[in-house]
């Protein structure tokens, strides 16, 4: 148990889509901090709130949860914080339970579970405006009386009721009254319930007030002893729990659903007293869904959304990307003027500025993607995409919600992988993360354009199909096929078993608030910059050292790059890469573009002494490559060799930013390393096959 800190901690808990985060933002304003719960990929939101009498308190915004019986990492964290089981988070002194007033029944279920924790509690009846629109009337007094705690009606999105909530929280902290469970525990298992509750208290696993509710949940939860905190007690407690389940079976009760049935029965019993609702009529959401989840129109709408997204990413991001490039160009020139020529200047301009600038150039695309993803998530559209595509994606071995993460990865895998967080099931999330970087990201295009322009003849097939474009399209398709194949292979081996997604809520559509969207975009971009930025900086310096040292010795043959560590590594790797059709020079370019794929182009330019002013003007380098002859005096860059190199870039993991994000999101080095080995291994095998078979056919 954690010692209570000086400033009281209060937890904000509620169902997903109950407007909890909007309320949190309204209460804390800009005085909030986002971090990660140590050891898990769940974001931790905390912020300061000032109350008139209590003074400053710390509010924790817990992940949205359907039940205190956790099913996902998010729910596990919410559960553990509420029960004071996390060493990194002080046990909350009180709870603010958020209810979506327009979805009273299911929200009340979780609220009654929260009351069973026996902590001082205030219930927020959020989204009262939606209730009014649909003609629902909620009798707040009645509800407060039934729940036994203060109930504050409000509309957080319009800042209505905030002062009342602050006053109620103040009152709760000044004269704390423990909440009490509204549900009466079944007499049929009174004995075992008391036994388990006593064990919980004895081993300091639950506070006295929370123990009976926890005991009931343990009896109803088949997987209870899989929880780390209960696992050690399995042998000791299992007999008692089994006895309770048998007694329930004898009494004709289905034990897994018992707690939910008890709570919903209570909710049903009070519903007519606390709410007057007109019969169900089509809501605005229903009317929108008539189109958006329609087999034909829904698919058309999704296509439109995706195309808009791509248009924005590739069009709107272009100008800021140019500015960033020019800024770094200007910075390099300025540094070159200020710092005397020499190694220091080279480190700063060729290493740090070129390296960091090259990756930061993609930031506008990444930020726009974050914005779009936030819009899709916040409006409630994610669940509709899943509804439309669940079957099709399922056939490919992927989760319906993997669509947006995978599609985003066509621009950049970083936001794609971060968007996989919406997948609540850990295995499907991991699967998505593992295959996302196979999608054709922006950084691959310079490599493809350079090589396709060099080795693929500029002819049109059938009079209208340009062969080069066809090859590029084939490379994109190949990435998709490789992702599907990988997903299939992982499902058959390391990530086996059926998908555990049972039911998915289709929440009412909400108009996303610009402020919230910008906030999310900024938060995620900052997180990326902070996490990847340091690694990219280090990698840039490392790559500079590898490509600049040992320093050029004029007495020995070869260019400076050839003599450098990277050059030597290229030579060392040559035997491994030669069977793929790569000579030492291509090997150097591959080694130097380990941190970021597009570096391949500038490395090739350095190796071949060509000028590449911008990625769209690679003619000089292309002509130099085309002029290169092999030992037989024939062109060195044949279509087969070019395709083999492009194939390598389709499949191999050549991106440090992605690796950093994978390590973070998949929770450890292990998966990051596995992904690198898998992708790069796949690349090696594919290139080997293509080059060797091509050689046999005499296409070399």
């Amino acid at each position: 148990m954690v010692i209570e800190p000086h400033i009281p901690h209060v937890a904000l808990a509620g169902n997903p889509n109950s407007g909890k985060s909007t309320l949190f933002n309204a209460l804390t304003g800009l005085r909030q901090k986002v971090s990660n719960y140590p050891g898990v990929t769940v974001e931790k939101h905390g912020g300061a709130v000032h109350l008139p009498r209590t003074g400053e308190i710390h509010l924790i915004d817990l992940p949205g949860t359907y039940s205190l019986n956790p099913r996902s990492l998010d729910e596990q964290v919410a559960h553990d914080v509420l029960l004071g089981l996390r060493d990194d988070t002080p046990v909350p002194r009180a709870i603010v339970a958020v209810l979506d007033a327009s979805n009273l029944e299911r929200n009340l279920f979780f609220v009654t579970q929260l009351l069973s924790l026996g902590r001082p509690t205030v219930v927020v009846l959020n989204m009262m405006d939606v209730c009014e629109q649909t003609g629902q009337q909620i009798h707040v007094e009645q509800l407060a009386q039934r729940l036994g705690v203060a109930v504050v009606p409000m509309t957080a999105s319009k800042n209505v009721g905030l002062d009342e909530l602050r006053a109620a929280m103040d009152e709760m902290l000044q004269s704390p009254l423990p909440a009490r469970d509204v549900v009466e525990l079944p007499l049929a298992i009174a004995g075992p319930l008391a036994e388990v509750a006593a064990l919980l208290r004895e081993h300091d696993l639950a506070e006295a007030a929370a123990a009976p509710g926890e005991a009931l949940r343990i009896i109803c939860t088949a997987t209870a002893f899989e929880q780390p905190r209960l696992a050690p007690w399995r042998e000791l407690w299992q007999p008692v729990v089994e006895r309770a389940r048998e007694q329930l079976a004898v009494a004709g009760r289905n034990w897994p659903t018992l707690e939910a049935e008890l709570r919903y029965r209570w909710v049903d019993s009070i519903l007519s007293d606390v709410r007057t609702a007109p019969p169900h009529t089509a809501t605005a959401t229903d009317r929108v869904d008539r189109w958006l989840t329609h087999p034909v129109w829904g698919s058309a709408a999704l296509t439109l959304v995706v195309l808009t997204m791509f248009w924005a990413i590739f069009r709107l991001a272009q100008a800021p990307m140019e500015w960033i490039k020019h800024f770094f160009g200007w910075l390099a020139t300025w540094v070159a003027q200020v710092v005397p020529a020499g190694q220091m200047q080279s480190l700063l301009t060729d290493g740090v500025i070129a390296g960091v600038g090259g990756v930061l150039m993609f930031l506008p695309q990444i930020m726009l993607l974050f914005l779009f993803i936030a819009m899709i998530e916040d409006s409630g559209y994610t669940a509709r995409i899943q509804f439309l595509l669940d079957r099709a994606m399922g056939k490919l071995g992927l989760h319906g919600k993997a669509f947006i993460p995978l599609f985003s990865s066509f621009a950049c895998a970083v936001p794609g992988i971060m968007a996989a967080r919406t997948i609540d099931n850990a295995r499907d999330r991991l699967l998505t993360i593992l295959v996302a970087p196979l999608m054709c990201c922006s950084a691959r295009w310079p490599v493809y354009l350079l090589l396709a322009g060099t080795v693929i003849p500029s002819v049109t097939l059938l009079g209208f199909l340009p062969l080069q474009a066809l090859v590029l399209g084939g490379l994109v398709l190949l990435g998709i096929l490789a992702a599907i194949f990988s997903a299939w292979a992982f499902r058959k081996t390391i990530l086996r078993g059926p998908s555990t997604t049972l039911a998915q809520e289709l929440p009412p559509y909400r108009r996303p608030q610009i402020k919230t969207l910008l906030h999310i975009m900024w938060e995620r971009s900052a997180l990326f910059l902070q996490k990847a930025g340091t690694v990219i900086l280090l990698m840039s310096v490392l790559m500079w050292v590898l490509t600049s040292y040992p320093r050029h010795d004029a007495a020995r043959s070869g260019s400076p790059l050839e003599q450098s560590c990277a050059g030597q590594m290229g030579r060392v790797l040559e035997p491994v890469l030669k069977p793929l059709g790569f000579d030492w020079r291509i090997s150097i370019a591959i080694v130097s573009s380990f941190a970021a794929r597009e570096v391949f182009v500038s490395s090739m330019a350095t190796i071949y002494g060509a000028q590449v002013t911008d990625p769209h003007n690679m003619a000089d380098l292309q002509s130099r490559l085309a002029a290169e002859k092999d030992e037989r005096g024939k062109p060195f860059f044949t279509p087969l060799r070019g395709i083999s190199i492009m194939l390598f870039y389709v499949l191999a993991m050549q991106c440090v930013s992605t690796m950093v994000v994978v390590r973070r999101e998949a929770g450890g080095w292990k998966w990051m390393a596995f992904q690198w080995v898998w992708m790069t291994g796949l690349a090696w095998l594919a290139c080997f096959t293509v080059w060797q078979v091509g050689a046999l056919l005499g296409w070399r």
């Binding site: 289905n254 959401t285 669940d390 049972l502």
Partner: protein, 86 residues
Amino acid sequence: MQAVEKSCALAALGTGHSGWLGAMALLPAEQQRMAELGLTAGTPVVVTKRSLWGGPLELRVRGCKLSLRREVAQRIQVTSEAQHGH
């Protein structure tokens, strides 16, 4: 016309039709989560839509919309009121 009760799988219920939830042939942990989402025995349910190619069903239960995979819906019994002669 006489109303009779008939029992079938939720997946077999026609779009726009309603019924009352019955037994679920699901794992205990799955039954528990379904109940927590409000799908308890005896709860009225309406099938409001079906997705493409045997995809999920859209349901209305306790005032909220849920999407449920067809494989899951096949394992849930419902009692529906079928009009005689239909």
